[in-house]
Amino acid sequence: MLKLLYFAWLRTKIGMAEERVPLPAGVTDVAGLIEWLRGRGAGYADALANLDVVKVAVNQEYVPFSHPVTAGDEVALFPPVTGG
């Protein structure tokens, strides 16, 4: 299983904060996971349309889209941060 987390406007566009999915067949990295998510519905496609404004953390560390994804990972997708 993967634990998927969405924050800020990715959360509102996708319509949920968190979900658990089996590691999709053929998905080996973040880029592949995003491609698979885009096919799950209009909300996902909209949220993930422009990857210039999407950041990724795997197991709570920032990673590039080329980072591997394996079963058991916590993958978070969110916009550039605006705290402080």
Partner: protein, 155 residues
């Protein structure tokens, strides 16, 4: 060395006293407090139009990132003590959002480390601001290029 992510407000005087009390090798403490403003210039809103902010964050990763930033600061400068407090939840204009304080024997180190932590926090700590404005309703604040530039200065 301490990081706190919390919903409630903090008491700057008490926090600074706790930071330096008992360590008479400290010569200076630099402290930055971030407050909720009632305007958001990038979006062209006039003063008084932001009614509130809601700070969303990524529990777990937030603390890890803030601890990593604080550790990096303590690697770069000789700090006697440091503190990061960041609030989440809904806040109105004038409320305190964040406190960063760095104590050192030397004022240069205290100033540099405090600014470094703020700059890195702005671009690395997983917080997102949702504004409630008079004109546009709710809106997610966009990241600022100037924050990226400020953070890049320390590489």
């Amino acid at each position: 060395m301490s990081v706190r992510v919390q919903q409630q407000d903090f008491d700057i005087g008490a926090e600074l006293a706790a930071l330096s009390d008992g360590d008479t090798g400290i010569g200076g403490v630099c402290c930055f407090t971030g407050l909720v403003r009632d305007l958001h210039p990038q979006a062209g809103e006039a003063a008084g139009t932001v009614r509130a902010l809601t700070l969303e964050h990524y529990p777990g990763m937030t603390e890890r990132q803030l601890e990593a930033i604080e550790t990096e600061a303590r690697t770069r400068w000789p700090l006697s003590a440091s503190l990061i407090i960041h609030r989440f939840g809904r806040m109105e204009p004038g409320e305190r959002i964040v406190l960063v304080a760095c104590a050192s024997a030397h004022r240069e180190a205290a100033f540099d480390a405090c600014r470094f932590i703020m700059d890195w926090l702005k671009t690395k700590a997983p917080f997102w601001k949702l504004e409630e404005t008079d004109r546009s309703g709710e809106r997610w604040v966009a990241a600022r290029e100037s924050d990226e530039n400020a953070a890049g200065r320390w590489v």
